[in-house]
């Protein structure tokens, strides 16, 4: 059964005839060729597929493509454009720049989803503790980095975006 979807993806108007059962992540990857958004699981656990729907981070493996009709989708390919040019670093969103600077990625497979979650967090925060950053990444699994450099990457970006981050303290034992 086919349905028509009108949406904006990374600012571009899109109109497509699709199968009603198609998931957003496959719509992005297979129909639009936006392969930066990854599929890491089939139980909505890993977060590799995270994109923004009207500015909120969602797992695109858990959303039907038909549901984005008349809504706006942002993927990693369009992440840099979500901040004003003056805030970009070497053309990148501060979160992307942070991941590069702080070695927030190894194999890179979790990275787009991880960055979409982190960028949403920073867009909606004024101050954060390191533990709050860690907790905000609850829905994103990384098997490579051990997370520490991801936390540092997000803290790096926070600073560039005017979000203050409390420093980590070693447990007082």
């Amino acid at each position: 059964m086919g349905v028509t979807v009108h949406t904006r993806v990374n600012g571009q108007p899109i109109e497509r005839e699709i199968e009603a059962r198609q998931l957003l992540v496959y719509f992005l990857r297979d129909e639009l060729g936006l392969t930066g958004t990854h599929v890491g699981c089939d139980t909505s656990q890993c977060g590799a597929c995270t994109v923004w729907l009207d500015g909120r981070a969602v797992k695109s493996c858990t959303v039907l493509a038909a549901q984005v009709d008349e809504h706006e989708v942002t993927t990693v390919e369009g992440l840099a454009e979500t901040v004003p040019e003056a805030q970009r670093i070497e053309g990148l969103h501060p979160v992307q720049a942070g991941f590069w600077e702080k070695h927030g990625l190894q194999c890179g497979f979790c990275t787009p989803g991880m960055m979409m979650t982190a960028a949403e967090l920073l867009a909606n925060s004024e101050r954060l503790s390191q533990q709050e950053i860690r907790e905000a990444l609850e829905g994103n699994i990384c098997r490579c980095t051990g997370y520490q450099d991801i936390v540092d990457a997000v803290a790096f970006a926070a600073e560039k975006m005017g979000v203050s981050v409390e420093r980590d303290v070693t447990a007082s034992i």
């Binding site: 990854h38 990693v76 190894q106 860690r134 051990g146």
Partner: protein, 786 residues
């Protein structure tokens, strides 16, 4: 130019990966692409009565359905790549699709090829497979019982290999018998699911005109895939191209040559259209290899005053239903020989039975054998210390191989290259002010807190390895590496390597080496890996060998290029090569400041070849094959402080200190990243992860909902330190660092938890130390009240 060796250069691979422009196997799109899906056995052990694919075939959009019968004689069984000598190893056949019998839940039964992924999956549901269930055997101990069902009829007692090693049996037995103290334990090193974040995928494309086949696949070792694939589907090696593009983590689970790689290749040839298969995470849990899974009956023998006399290990290693590519080497060679760890232990005896069961095949998983061995010795040292009432740290110190004893020959026949074990221990203790920490622990205990301190001093064998040794231990390949450094006429450089990094950052560290050696900016160097049509032969990325072995090959090739460039520059400048120096990309003649040639000018001159020195060939490139004379042996000490919540049994990691020595460091940022990742994976085994089967062979922990992967919020900030003892046997002085964290952190954390619980009389607990398991132990020992 400042040298790049030793500096935290930002990674060259990152710009594409952070902008969504990576190229993972499932990202590959080809015209006319078909999609494959695999029907998998729901039974752990069953005879296939019949498979009716009629309905599936009739479904619109389905192009073909293949069963075991369809591929028999056309796709050869999947081979094993390691035949351990003197181990009576059997080689049970592993058909790419089950023929007659299925042997584990997830065993492939049929393959559908369709116009879309969705149709292929729909068609799976239309296949009617009729099975006659047989009694399965899941547990290794039950599998060797005389009455146990046989996984493969021609492997008696399900024992697929039996390997023994160590020092002289008679003297060892004598020493064991007369030891003052004997600490007996039974450890279960539980089965783990690697869970690389990228599921496996393969895409095959065949050109019927030329007979050439290209396979893109999620592999850590594309050349091994090419060699094995050639044998399995009968396409000669020179017409096979295997490409491992960006690979999203592997941890050992992307070493094996898998049935699906043969199946999509076969289908692409049969159908004349490209075919892609991408596994779901659920399939990944069932049909991608698992790791660990040993039952370990072990004894440490020692004196009352803390000197270890010997170690004895009787191991049942669950191998799963088939022998995966490198699997036989994991519980034997990679496990047994390193059992003495960082200590001078005169007598060691190891007995390993590899056992077939109706479970997913086991393969290397980050550390592969070495975590299982390190767990034994490091847990036993703690238990021994407790038994003789000595601080575990003191026992370690007393038994360390001293820093002046290297190279050191172990009682298991290895030659440790270099080390200063005591130094890493001291550094870890200093980081936490150990003496005071123990005092504070005492005080907090009195206040009712369950505080534990655990340490582990490990040594790892990696940088696999001399090919001669590979042959002697039954690895069916070499373990050297090769590289080509090719300067283009414009002076830009491509480097082609046989190793196949997939997250470890060698596009950067290798470029650092080449930029330093050749004298060009790092921006001008690009590393090419993973494509057998472009790169020289190599054995791949595993066993922390990429930098020690592949990096050494590359350093030697780069030096040849640098030497030739200098000769050409000298010729251009009409000087003797001895008088020419290279600085900041410029060749200069000593004492003649105006005599200069840029690197680009020299490169161009090499290619135009209008005026070359006598006897010099045109072009500017060099290749090198490097076979290391020994393995490398990184080492270190990890320390962890935990507090256990009496009410929930939850383990809070308060501090985690890692002191590692991987020889010289090319990029400290990347090294630290490897350490962090390793620590988290090892703690995953200690506290949360475990593959659980029911007695019918159903994997109960078959999704990310049931299998607890570590999350960011579970950890404090790790305190990471290094010492630097250069590797004496390779030109770079480097050792491996990819697996040390995993090797060290599991026993470190378990030791810490048991240290916290010991005052309550809790002596041992099986991993993973989940809140539930700890809470139950607390209940039994009255420890739920302070």
């Amino acid at each position: 130019m400042p040298t790049l060796f030793g500096t935290p250069v930002r990674r060259k691979e990152d710009p594409r990966l952070i902008t969504g422009h990576g190229n993972y196997t499932d990202d590959i799109r080809l015209p006319d692409l078909l999609y494959a899906a695999i029907l998998r056995s729901p039974y752990a052990h069953a005879r296939i009565r019949s498979i009716d694919v009629g309905k599936a075939r009739a479904l619109p959009g389905v192009v073909a359905v293949f069963t075991g019968a369809d591929i028999a004689g056309k796709v050869a069984p999947i081979p094993t790549g390691w035949i351990v000598p003197e181990a009576d190893q059997k080689l049970p056949p592993h058909p790419a699709l089950a023929q007659e019998k299925v042997r584990y839940v997830g065993d492939g039964v049929a393959m559908v090829v369709a116009e879309s992924r969705a149709v292929a999956e729909d068609a799976l549901e239309q296949i009617e497979a009729d099975y006659e269930p047989l009694t399965p055997v899941v547990d290794a101990e039950q599998a060797i019982a005389p009455s146990a069902p046989l996984v493969h009829e021609d492997v008696p007692n399900n024992v697929v290999l039996h390997w023994q090693a160590g020092s002289d049996v008679a003297t060892a037995q004598q020493a064991f018998a007369s030891a003052e103290v004997a600490v007996h334990r039974r450890f279960k090193n539980q089965r783990l699911v690697p869970n690389a974040m990228e599921p496996r995928a393969s895409v095959a494309q065949y050109n019927p005109g030329s007979g050439e086949l290209t396979l893109w696949t999620t592999s850590q070792n594309p050349h091994i895939v090419r060699l094995l694939l050639s044998g399995v589907i009968g396409v000669p090696e020179q017409k096979l191209r295997v490409v491992a593009p960006d690979v999203g983590g592997g941890f050992g689970s992307k070493i094996p040559f898998y049935p699906e790689e043969a199946l999509v290749s076969f289908a692409a040839m049969q159908l004349g259209r490209p075919v892609k298969w991408t596994e779901t995470r659920s399939e990944n849990f069932l049909a991608t290899t698992h790791g660990r899974d040993q039952i370990q009956d072990v004894v440490l023998y020692g004196t009352k005053d803390g000197k270890i006399v010997g170690v004895e290990a009787n191991i049942l290693a669950n191998m799963g239903a088939y022998l995966s590519t490198a699997a036989p080497g994991v519980p034997t060679i990679l496990f047994g020989l390193i059992l003495p760890g960082a200590y001078a232990i005169p007598h060691v005896r190891i007995d390993v039975k590899g056992v077939l069961t109706n479970t997913t095949p086991i393969e290397a998983y980050r550390g592969a054998g070495r975590p299982e061995a390190t767990f034994i010795i490091e847990r036993l040292v703690d238990e021994y210390a407790h038994e003789i009432d000595m601080d575990p740290v003191e026992v370690r110190r007393k038994n360390f191989i001293p820093a002046d004893a290297f190279p050191y020959n172990t009682s298991t026949g290895l030659t440790y290259d270099s080390g200063n074990y005591e130094l890493t221990l001291r550094k870890a203790l200093d980081a936490v002010d150990y003496t005071q920490l123990r005092q504070r622990q005492e005080k907090l205990r009195k206040q009712g807190h369950l505080i534990g301190i655990g340490t582990c001093s490990y040594v790892e064998i990696c940088g696999l390895g001399p090919s001669k040794v590979a042959g002697a231990v039954g690895f069916q390949g070499g373990l050297w590496e090769s590289a080509i450094v090719r300067v283009h006429p414009s002076g830009k450089v491509n480097v082609y390597v046989g190793v196949s990094p997939h997250g470890q950052g060698e596009e950067t560290t290798f470029a650092q080496i080449v930029a330093d050696t050749v004298g060009v900016p790092i921006e001008d160097v690009s590393i090419v890996h993973g494509d057998t049509a472009a790169i020289p032969m190599g054995w791949g990325t595993y066993g922390s060998r990429t930098t020690p072995v592949g990096g050494s090959a590359l350093a030697l090739a780069a030096q040849k290029v640098a030497d030739k460039a200098k000769r050409l520059a000298a010729h251009l400048l009409e000087a003797s090569p001895d008088d020419v120096v290279m600085q900041d990309g410029l060749f200069q003649v000593k004492g003649v400041p105006q005599a200069q040639a840029t690197f680009q000018q020299v490169a161009l001159a090499a290619y135009t070849a209008w005026d070359l020195p006598e006897g010099e060939e045109p072009g500017l490139e060099a290749s090198s094959f490097y076979d290391p004379p020994n393995f490398v042996y990184p080492f270190g000490t990890h320390l962890c402080v935990v507090e256990i919540d009496r009410e929930t049994g939850n383990v809070h990691i308060l501090r985690y200190v890692a002191v590692d020595d991987c020889g010289r460091v090319i990029n400290p940022m990347i090294v630290e990243g490897q350490v962090h990742g390793g620590i988290v994976q090892g703690i995953g085994q200690a506290l949360w992860e475990g593959a659980v089967y029911d007695d019918q062979g159903q994997l109960l922990s078959g999704s990310m909902m049931d299998y607890a992967l570590p999350k960011a919020s579970f950890f404090p900030r790790f305190e990471v330190y290094r010492t630097e003892t250069p590797a004496p046997f390779n030109p770079l002085g480097v050792k491996g660092i990819g697996e040390t964290g995993t090797i060290a952190s599991t026993p470190t954390v378990v030791n810490a938890v048991l240290d916290a619980l010991r005052p309550l009389g809790i002596e041992d607990l099986e991993m993973p130390l989940t809140p539930q398991r700890i809470w139950q132990a607390l209940q039994q020992h009255g420890g739920d009240r302070s």
